[in-house]
Symmetry: none
Subunit: 248 residues, 2 copies
Amino acid sequence: MLKEERHQVILNEVRIHNKVLLADIAEILKVSQDTVRRDIKELHDKNKLKRVHGGAISLGFNHYNYVNREIYSLEKKSRIAEKAVSLLKDGQVILLSGGTTNLEIARLIPPYLKITCFTPSLPIAMQLLPKPNIEIIVIGGKINKDSQIAVGGSPIGALSELKADICFLGVNSIHPIEGVTELYWEIVQVKKAMIKASKKVVVPSISEKINSEQRYKICGLDAVDLLITELDESDPQLEAYKQSIELL
Amino acid sequence: MLKEERHQVILNEVRIHNKVLLADIAEILKVSQDTVRRDIKELHDKNKLKRVHGGAISLGFNHYNYVNREIYSLEKKSRIAEKAVSLLKDGQVILLSGGTTNLEIARLIPPYLKITCFTPSLPIAMQLLPKPNIEIIVIGGKINKDSQIAVGGSPIGALSELKADICFLGVNSIHPIEGVTELYWEIVQVKKAMIKASKKVVVPSISEKINSEQRYKICGLDAVDLLITELDESDPQLEAYKQSIELL
DNA sequence: GAAATTCTTGCAATATTTTGCAATTAAATT
DNA sequence: AATTTAATTGCAAAATATTGCAAGAATTTC
């Protein structure tokens, strides 16, 4: 067995159990404890886990969670997600589009919350899986590989039969005059259907995106009920939105 | 044998087994270990695999993408998956249920194959995402958290409008007399619908499962066209199936 | 604070890699 | 077609890496 494989096994054990005992791993891998110790030392130096007396422990949840591997502006998105999650209440039906900000929202939904989540996004559905009190309903269809969401007539049809309490609409661009815009036609269609399928539309967006626009229009600002950014409500960057939209 | 051919063989081995040992490849290719070492070095530089002491491993290996790496009897399941994948041809429409054996099949579908995959399973859809030539269609619905597949009326309805060329039906239990059985009622319903939605039903199953049964019946053996196990066709354990089912 | 466990260190056996070299093959040039 | 040049391949010796072991040091546990 290659050293690299051992490392993967160890990391996997850490990921699953949050800790490993030297002796257990040695048993699993059928190598001496010395070898495992050296492996753990190496992984510790690479900052993949924390070496402790007797074994190793996880660095903390987020490090191994596949989901946050490489989210751009993760800090900001987490702040946005915290605000977004504060809107949620037991019994609600919510609709989540795709995108990494929404993924962060999905991750931060508290496990005790009893809500129903509809989503056409595969990563978001996966992220919700371990939360016991959430009912997940995937809106199926042909998967667009870039966005990892279902697109086309089938999801749009499914959405037409739905009225959610809140839609968290992940966006690529939002602009005070042009409204919400998107790069891909087929995704525009799904997002339009999502807006129609919801009582309240919430746009979580990092501040970099709040003055950009793209080729296709999803909706005007009037269709958006609430804009969540990582900024403070009083931030001058948000001035242009204050008239037309509620901010958080 | 051309260097390029060797490279293809090496990459293929890595793709299938996630790793290769220098000595094994040298044996397979009938060249010296030095040559293989140089080949691997080259592929490493091209970023096609990761060179490690003693051999090489797949780049994706440590990307714990979305896939549960803790697959029980992984070796056997890989062997089954290899056989299963050999049935696939360009242009086909296939239907994949859930389960780790099917996940392994999804992983091993060669990237050049142009097929359409329908699945109600989130992990399998995720697994297929990086393959550029595969059209993925997720059968949506309420997600059963244990099996991570969509269940209920909605997926069953969607399946009723479909006729796939092959259905890979992951099973928990198959028995020479009792047929295919399952523990959960709602999953039974989906699997029944999958069988109806396919021209050919293939059951990939490790040998441990081929004499077990569970509470609810999915179908009799007559509904199954092909049984794939990790065993050789002539293995005595398969004797009871030889009459009624084609084996692979 | 004593007992038990775990760690560190140095060492030896084994396995793998590096390096230089020579023989062979393939490709380019005249 | 012959010659030169470059690339490929296998071999072998030296260098390096891996692994398990054992004795003493450090840490944890009760």
